[in-house]
Amino acid sequence: MGPTWTRSHCPLIHLAGAPSPASRAPRRGRVVSPTRASIPVSSSPAPAPVPTKPPLPAASIPISVSVSPVPASVSVPIGANGFGPPPNTLTEPVWDTVKRDLARIVSNLKLVVFPNPYREDPGKALRDWDLWGPFFFIVFLGLTLSWSASVKKSEVFAVAFAVLAAGAIILTLNVLLLGGHIIFFQSLSLLGYCLFPLDVGALVCMLKDNVILKIVVVTITLAWSSWAAYPFMSAAVNPRRKALALYPVFLMYISVGFLIIAID
């Protein structure tokens, strides 16, 4: 009779005592916010591991609330769905930021340069564009060419960097002027990512200084870069002007390929 009286007359005590199902479930999951925000792992002993790959921008995002077991005023990280303040990425460790950016670069690279089922839809190809990847690739190519050169090293770097950076901007403006439909920074990002095969080629040519090998390697990587950039650029303009939009892209990559072959 005692326990029954307790339960029926004091239901709140029962609820407060035992951990409710609502707060037990989130300990299995984590806050997985849509694209760029992440979970601050500041001081709360969160039990679940950090997701290692960036979440795809789809609808199947498990949104849950992770509440620390101590019922104190700890910051409650909540996903960016309007139920609270957005997560604060300023307080996360630097390594988490770097890891997240690297993961994004890798995923963008896989989408753009390697064969995958999304290639036919240019809009989806680089929806999560960033400029870190292109920056690394351009600087890496400039540095590799500069290391390979025997004279005028700094001028080689300057020419390579100027050609690639100004070239990407001018190519994007070219498509816009021809009446095409692209987003400016998405196109810059794409042209930078398509440099990755030429980076690999430049590295190989720097290590092994044989002219025939250089020609073969540069031809292969040039074809690969052009194949990566083709669907995006050709879909962006009117079909009657497709060649006008694609020719400057090939021109830029061919000139960079020539630089790789000729610098010794």
Partner: protein, 269 residues
């Protein structure tokens, strides 16, 4: 394909690169639009107001004196230069071919729709070709003479860029002002277009200049320079009909030939 880009609401943002709006994709009505387009293209730079589907500066008055107030905004807007790139692939190829053949129909082709796509990419291609083939040609010459001191000269890129872009921009501008001074009103855009297309003959010329026989090189560059000068003279005569300015036409031809000689001497030594 995802057509959502045309609906991006960026046109109201000052200074942003506007996504092309819906109006641009309607096929333009044939006659009325062309007359307006031609009259708009007579003057360079373009006035921002009245561009079909382009960006309109916010808050400007809708009447005639919009040019005075909002004129400077047209320079920094991508959409205001789009009329000069209104060409298709076959049109560009046709103009390129007629720049080599000695027929005198070129100026009539560009009169209604001068494009800046041709001059821009012809000069850029020429910059790369001169730098690349110039290096390769000096390499071949040194190989033939059994010298082993060749090094890739990356300064060729800087020199080629300065010379070609400088020539293609400054020389037509200079002649525009000279023609104005002598009273004959010309169109600067058409001058730029014409001079740009006249440089196209140097592209196959620089490929042929790889042949490491010195006498043959001089013959090739003389032919290319001569063709280019003749193209310029012919088209200048056509566009300035009625004004007897032989001095200017002769000096334009001489300048073009001097450019050809400079290319040979500097890049293909």
């Amino acid at each position: 394909m995802d057509e959502g880009y045309a609906n991006l609401p960026t046109s109201h943002l000052l200074g942003s690169v506007p996504a092309v709006t819906q109006d641009d994709r309607k096929p333009s009505p044939p006659t009325a639009q062309d007359a307006a387009a031609t009259s708009r293209l007579q003057e360079f730079p373009p006035a921002p107001g009245g561009n079909g589907g382009g960006y309109r500066p916010p808050g400007g008055p809708a009447d005639g004196d919009v040019e005075n107030q909002a004129d400077w905004k047209g320079y920094f807007n991508v959409a205001s230069y789009a009329p000069y790139f209104n060409v298709d692939t076959d049109v560009v190829v046709d103009r390129l071919i007629s720049s080599i053949y000695p027929m005198d129909g070129f100026y009539r082709k560009i009169d209604a729709n001068p494009d800046m796509y041709g001059p821009l990419w012809i000069t850029t291609t020429l910059v790369f070709m001169l730098a690349a083939f110039g290096n390769y040609a000096t390499y071949l010459m040194q190989n033939k003479n059994d010298l082993d001191i060749w090094n890739f000269d990356v300064g060729y890129f800087s020199w080629a860029a300065s010379v070609m872009y400088g020539y293609a921009v400054i020389v037509p501008g200079m002649f525009f002002f000279l023609f104005q001074y002598f009273g004959s009103r010309q169109s600067l855009v058409r001058f730029w277009c014409m001079w740009g297309y006249s440089l196209f003959v140097f592209i196959p010329g620089s490929v042929l200049l790889l042949i490491p026989v010195e006498f043959l090189r001089w013959v090739i560059i003389a032919l290319a320079g001569g063709a280019s000068s003749w193209f310029i003279a012919l088209n200048l005569k056509e566009c300035t009909e009625g004004a007897d300015l032989m001095v200017l036409m002769a000096s334009a031809s001489v300048l073009q030939f001097a450019l050809a000689l400079f290319i040979k001497v500097f890049f293909f030594a």
